[in-house]
């Protein structure tokens, strides 16, 4: 397990990614907030990476330190599905933690993305959840089963989708669901 050698500033982390992937980093934002009497800062970094370099960017991140993956969240944005991987860096040192949120956009016509569970084994459950809730396909996931939704829930309905593949129709006609 890699232990952190030195702590990089938020700007350095963004530069670290931009130097490696150039224009493939589509967007970056550093959000700094302070709290308490001493105005202690806390930093959130938001990065948007191109799908083609997604896996490489996670590997690149792991060269800094073995990160803590908090969760993967996702948005249905009409034509695309956006997945956001929330990582935590530099925990274990007082007020040094940086949250790194890496977003990647997948076209709804082909919503596939590589698994990161070979790098971070703890990612399996959250990746399984994204498959059933958002209908994305995680390539190479070691465990393909559903996690929260029961096995008799219809295929092709994804609870967090906002289009016709969402559960709206089912919810409106619950009596029909019961009959099956």
């Amino acid at each position: 397990m890699t232990k952190n050698k030195e702590i990089m500033a938020p700007e350095e982390i963004v530069k670290y990614f931009k130097d490696e992937f150039k224009t493939k980093i589509k967007d970056s934002r550093i959000e700094k907030r302070t709290t308490g009497i001493n105005k202690t800062p806390f930093v959130n970094i938001w990065l948007k990476v191109d799908k083609s370099i997604f896996k490489r960017s996670i590997k690149h991140l792991m060269n800094i330190q073995f990160p803590h993956l908090a969760v993967v969240s996702g948005n249905d944005l009409d034509k695309i599905i956006e997945l956001i991987y929330h990582f935590s860096l530099y925990f274990g040192k007082r007020n040094a933690e940086i949250y790194l949120n890496i977003a990647v956009e997948l076209p709804k016509s082909n919503p596939t993305i590589e698994t990161i569970s070979d790098l971070i084994p703890g990612a399996v459950i959250t990746e399984r959840e994204k498959q059933e809730m958002l209908g994305v396909i995680i390539k190479g996931i070691p465990d393909n089963r559903r996690v929260f939704i029961s096995d008799d829930f219809p295929k092709g309905v994804y609870p967090w989708r906002k289009d016709e593949t969402g559960p709206e129709k089912m919810v409106r006609n619950l009596h029909e669901v019961m009959k099956k």
Partner: protein, 409 residues
């Protein structure tokens, strides 16, 4: 007929599991008494809270978030409120932040004591269960005194809190804290020095440092394995950076980290002490001032409707890091996306290395040692030589008690 060569058999435990009465399903592959493989199945109490939330406005979600978990009824609303405050750039008054810390730490005391009682019950130590829960009652009384409720506190608001602590309330608070401090020593002695507790918990359910990191475990579960991860200390939020405290890992007490059940007991117990101390610090340092940035709810909702952005809210719940993600689109009153991640979500995978190689009688205490929070069935079905028989929770509990007796002799 050909004889089968399979030497292992399967026992499903659940969906109500034997430790805390909540639904999760384990499928154990057993060889003799030893567990050789574990599979965990979830989802028995998935209530589509996130889906329901995306159809409600942020104020309504506060109440929904509070009902995600009975024990963490402060953690979820505070994580959600922080996510909204980050997304919509809402400043929170200093005094409100202190009041939030007091509520958060009080909840930690209640939760850890509840767990300590259950853990004692699991190994057949029921007198300790009554002792810890008697102490917990005092902490619950204090919660009721401060918020008006024992469980669902309804104290969090976006931009602050609902109720202040006034000068005339201080004597009651001090009396409760003194009671907890005086009795803590007794509890510490029972859990940390008792021979039976040590025998059942040392070297059992081990989670190594590497596994805790790789599986992204959180809270006391990961700290007991030596990973210093505590949101209160890692990042500056609420007023934690102004308070004096440090990471609790088992080496603070024993000088070494084993990552076993005993270490998880140490971490939780010491955190009870730490929380009492933090509440006292807050009461001393709390500045005067407002407790909410915008008391008029319609005005607040109008601001939130116009707000556009995304934010995450993180809080150290009694079981570990809880994180909420919110996206506001600036057009609708309801958030566009709301994602909730409770701490047990990340601690589930950590059960597998903990349980491998342990005995059936250790299932309750190992499973309980991560303090899982989901909701569990009252029976265990055992399939052995194609014959199926049912072990209920009482029987499994009995096995656990018998093991305690056996090793005491």
């Amino acid at each position: 007929m050909k004889a089968t060569t399979k030497t292992t058999y399967q026992i499903p435990v659940g969906p109500i599991h034997p430790a805390l009465k909540e639904p999760v399903m384990f499928e154990f592959e057993i060889s003799g008494e030893k567990i050789v493989d574990v599979d965990v199945q979830l989802g028995h109490v998935h209530r589509s809270v996130e889906w329901a939330g995306m159809r409600r406005n942020p104020i309504q979600i506060l109440y929904l978030a509070e009902r995600i978990c009975g024990i963490c009824s402060f953690c979820h609303p505070i994580a959600f409120a922080r996510a909204i405050e980050n997304a919509a750039d809402i400043e929170v008054p200093e005094r409100a932040q202190y009041l939030r810390v007091i509520q958060g730490e009080l909840e930690r005391i209640c939760s850890h004591m509840l767990w300590a009682g259950v853990a004692a019950h699991e190994i057949g130590f029921d007198s300790v269960l009554f002792l810890t829960w008697q102490m917990r009652e005092k902490a619950l009384d204090l919660t009721e005194f401060l918020t008006g409720n024992r469980v669902t506190k309804a104290i969090t608001m976006i931009g602050g809190v609902r109720r202040d602590i006034t000068k005339d309330m201080l004597p009651t608070i001090n009396e409760a804290l003194t009671y907890l401090k005086d009795n803590f020593e007794k509890l510490r002695h029972i859990f940390l020095d008792d021979k039976t507790v040590k025998m059942r918990s040392q070297g059992c359910g081990v989670l190594t440092y590497d596994d805790a990191m790789k599986l992204c475990a959180v809270g006391p579960t990961t700290r007991a394995s030596g990973v210093k991860k505590d949101v209160r200390l890692d990042q500056a939020y609420l007023t934690y950076p102004d308070l004096d405290f440090d990471y609790v890992t088992p080496d603070v007490l024993t000088g070494e980290v084993n990552g076993d059940v005993y270490d998880r007991i140490i971490v939780r117990l010491l955190e009870v002490k730490q929380s009492i101390d933090l509440i006292e610090q807050c009461i001393d340092k709390m500045p005067a001032g407002e407790i909410i940035s915008e008391p008029k709810i319609p005005k607040l909702l109008a601001t939130l409707k116009k707000a556009r952005g995304e934010g995450i809210g993180v809080h150290e719940a009694p079981r570990g890091e809880v994180i909420h993600y919110v996206k506001l689109d600036g057009e609708h009153e309801n958030p566009y996306t709301w994602k909730v991640r409770a701490p047990t979500y990340n601690n589930i995978l950590a059960w597998i290395p903990m349980l491998l190689g342990e005995q059936i009688a250790d299932i309750p205490i190992v499973a309980a040692s991560t303090d899982p929070c989901m909701s569990c069935t009252n029976r265990v079905a055992v399939v052995h030589n194609n014959k199926r028989y049912i072990l209920d929770a009482e029987k499994l509990h009995q096995l656990s008690i018998e093991k305690t007796r056996r090793i005491m002799i």
